[in-house]
């Protein structure tokens, strides 16, 4: 039985290697090369990384982190309650409710993001409504606000689904037990739900933070060409400037940054659980 499974895994391993491992290795390799002159001369160097250490670029990395972190936090604050509400619906209603969040994702991301331009522009729908109420017009497009909004809108389902799944996994009797022992609503949440749904939260946060850190479409459309996040920086290197080596170096920095963030998050969760003491129970039961 195990032999069969091993055999089935070979094509998978080959696929993963071609599609993931090798391209990442290539990017890694590229980042250490500089090609100059005609005919092209390749030499191994750390210059690409040194170029990145310019305060301008470090600022871009920092700004991307801040915006990604804020968007992720908003997604968490919005997503948890939504996941909770959906989990409390009658089981047959739950899938319809989830559909409401998943369905927009079937529409092309570009179109979904473009739609916000119509809503947030100075002469857009939102300002027109606010004008009726005597407010505005507000300058919303091409700001941190519009970019964060675009990110939250696009990535919210990625936060809701894992949290919803982990909420469902929590035995309802545990909540009863907590209430029985004197825990009111907020206590139940803090002492029982939160620790038990932490895996879902971590997954959700990771799945939002990663694309939020590296996206370039949303900042470009909703922020403008001057709204440079680390993803835009990489994109411009590859598509406009044509300096694939510098672009690869920035990509490696981004990958390292993300891995660091994920590691930090895992430690935050892992540190919470108790270490079991050694020694078996002396009793047969």
């Amino acid at each position: 039985m195990n032999e069969n499974i091993k055999r089935f895994s070979y094509p998978y391993i080959v696929w993963i290697s071609i599609v993931i491992v090798i391209p990442v290795l290539l990017i890694f390799l590229y980042s250490f090369i500089q090609s100059t002159g005609e005919p092209v001369v390749f030499r191994f160097t750390l210059q690409n990384y040194r170029d990145f250490l310019d305060p301008i670029f470090l600022n871009v990395l920092w700004h991307s982190f801040i915006i990604a972190a804020i968007s992720t936090a908003i997604c968490l604050l919005l997503g948890y309650p939504v996941a909770w509400v959906v989990s409390r619906l009658k089981p047959h209603r739950q899938s319809s409710a989830l559909m409401l969040f998943i369905l927009p994702m079937w529409i092309n991301m570009l179109l979904r993001t473009y739609a916000w331009i119509t809503i947030l522009s100075r002469q857009g729908i939102l300002n027109k409504i606010l004008a009726r109420l005597g407010m505005g017009p507000f300058h919303m497009m091409y700001t941190d606000f519009s970019v964060s909004l675009g990110m939250v809108y696009n990535f919210l389902p990625f936060m809701i689904l894992p949290i919803y799944t982990s909420i469902l996994k929590v035995d309802g009797h545990l909540i009863d037990a907590a209430r029985d022992l004197g825990a009111s609503g907020s206590h139940v949440f803090r002492k029982v739900m939160l620790p038990l749904t932490m895996p879902g939260i971590i997954t959700g946060v990771t799945m939002v933070f990663l694309p939020a850190m590296s996206t370039f479409v949303i900042p470009q459309l909703l922020g403008g060409g001057q709204y440079i996040m680390i993803g835009n920086l990489i994109e411009r290197q590859f598509l406009l400037t044509g300096d694939w080596h510098f672009g690869s170096a920035i990509s490696v920095v981004l990958m390292a940054f993300i891995l660091l963030s994920v590691w930090a998050m895992k430690r935050f969760d892992g540190g919470g659980s108790q270490a079991g003491t050694a020694g078996k129970g002396a009793l047969p039961w």
């Binding site: 301008i56 331009i117 300058h139 497009m141 001057q226």
Partner: protein, 343 residues
């Protein structure tokens, strides 16, 4: 299993061998041609036109270098044609096959990027200028410095294009837009970074819908886009600033790799026909180098319009872009620093 393979093969062959007409591969900028004229060409010549589009000269250049498709007619811009000629990518044209060449205004022949006019035939031309909302701006605008006017804070759109935005700053400083002097570029960079608090954003063609809607007071646009904006929003005006600007020309060329050079020539000649030129001009709304087309448009408000048909003698400081060659690395560096440094 075998039966399925045979069936599949048969379907394949049938679908391939169906269309026996000769094919013409045309590679143009998006939204830059009234595609119904292609159908006319197909009917008249009994051929099939495969029409592909690109969004930037750089992309087109990369595709031609890669050589995966043997395009027959391509529509690049002035400086890119210059580069392609230098790299020997283009075919010398046989003008005996392009009699309609005489329809062109003489001032649009023998241009700097193709001084002996051996390789290209102009298609559309235009300028870069400021389109502004007369409801917001008091008086009229005549200088690039209007874009640095603090009265128009957050009312300004700049164009997300390296050369065009640098051009604005360089012209304002009195430098050439083809400068190879780093200190001049650095000055332009400082100027643009200083401007950034007043700028809403650097955008590309969404500027058209934004200005039509009235989402901003001033924007840097291409003349053809301005013509369209003004058509849709009567309070908009277009001006070519007095410090000068960029004059650009897009032209038709035949790459050396073309498999159907005779048909390509016929296509170019076809485009130069007055009725075809008219159809394209009315669709694209950019300035035409075709004298006969201009005649047709006289009196319809097109020819008196600076956006559409400026009197070039009034604007001596118009420059065409030249290929910066190796120096492009400096331009790239400066540009990224401007974008990343913008507030």
């Amino acid at each position: 299993m075998k039966k399925w393979l045979i069936l599949l093969a048969a379907v394949f062959l049938v679908s391939c061998g169906g269309d026996q007409r000769p094919r013409l591969f045309v590679y143009n900028v998006g939204e830059y041609m009234d595609t119904s004229v292609l159908e006319e060409f197909e009917e008249e010549y009994g051929v099939r036109v495969i029409y592909e589009t690109f969004d930037s000269n750089e992309t087109a250049y990369q595709k031609l270098k890669a050589g995966t498709t043997a395009y027959d007619v391509v529509f690049p811009s002035d400086y890119m044609i210059e580069k392609m000629i230098k790299e020997d990518m283009l075919e010398k044209l046989d003008f005996s096959l392009i009699p309609n060449f005489e329809n062109l205004l003489p001032e649009f022949t023998y241009l700097e990027y193709d001084p002996k006019n051996l390789y290209s035939v102009p298609y559309f031309w235009g300028t870069v200028g400021i389109v502004y909302d007369t409801r917001l701006v008091n008086g009229s605008v005549d200088s690039w410095s209007a874009l640095w006017d603090e009265r128009y804070e957050k009312e300004i759109f700049m164009y997300d294009s390296q050369r065009d935005s640098l051009m604005v700053a360089l012209k304002l400083l009195g430098y050439s837009l083809n400068t190879h002097k780093t200190e001049e570029l650095e000055a332009a960079k400082s100027l643009l970074i200083k401007q950034s608090p007043f700028v809403i954003a650097y955008i590309t063609d969404v500027v058209i819908s934004n200005m039509i809607a009235g989402n901003a007071g001033l924007a840097v646009v291409y003349s053809g886009d301005a013509a369209y904006i003004m058509d849709e929003n009567e309070s908009m005006e277009y001006v070519i600033p007095k410090e000068g600007s960029n004059l650009w020309v897009d032209a038709m060329v035949i790459p050396k790799m073309s498999n159907n050079k005779e048909l390509a020539h016929a296509f170019i000649d076809f485009i130069l026909r007055p009725e075809i030129g008219l159809a394209n001009t009315e669709y694209v709304m950019y300035s035409t180098p075709n004298a006969l087309v201009l005649e047709e448009l006289e009196g319809e408000g097109w020819t008196e319009n600076d956006a559409f048909n400026p009197d070039l003698s009034k604007f001596p400081n118009l420059e065409m872009f030249k290929d910066p060659g190796e120096f492009v690395a400096e331009y790239d560096r400066i540009w990224i620093e401007i974008l990343a440094g913008a507030k």
